[in-house]
Point group: C2
Chain length 74, copies 2
DNA sequence: TAATTATTTATTGTTTTTCGATAATTTCTT
DNA sequence: AAGAAATTATCGAAAAACAATAAATAATTA
């Protein structure tokens, strides 16, 4: 797997914490944390939508395709 | 919903048709068509990965957040 | 125009995964 | 140390991917 979810950067830029963002996009902090730390295997476009709206950014600011280095499974 | 899947552009750029891409990423043409025409409600990161790999592009080339115009449901 | 190919749409069933709810744990921060 | 924030884990329900398939529509080509 070489798709990386990079929420940290935009969150820092917007100065918003996980709790606050979670509330804004109506998702539990637990699930947002999973998303934030690349533990999610899929994402609903509606969720991506909420995130982009809340952080005022594009999917490309959050999702990155990185050439497979070794040592990844999935 | 304001997340748009824009596969057409990159496919044209790479001169690859739906059938060929579908085979490359190991998904049925039917399902790829659904994805291509914004009928999908979610996407597996593994699928996004395959697409980026096959089209040699970034998620941001394929996914776009567009401010809600009216007349969309979901 | 007819035949062929590519694409879209629809249906059904299986499997995967999100997501809420919750609790416990760990990591900041003050 | 105490409180807040973040992570991790578990369970169950609902949603959705995806395969397989078939049928319909659009596009291409002979």
């Amino acid at each position: 797997m070489a798709i990386i979810v990079q929420l940290d950067v935009m969150m820092a830029k917007r100065k918003i914490g996980l709790m606050e963002l979670a509330e804004k996009i109506s998702i539990t902090p637990a699930n947002l944390s999973i998303l934030k730390n690349n533990k999610a295997k899929a994402i609903r476009l509606s969720t991506l939508d909420e995130i982009c709206k809340a952080l005022d950014c594009q999917p490309g600011d959050i999702l990155e395709y990185k050439e497979d280095e070794d040592g990844e499974e999935n």
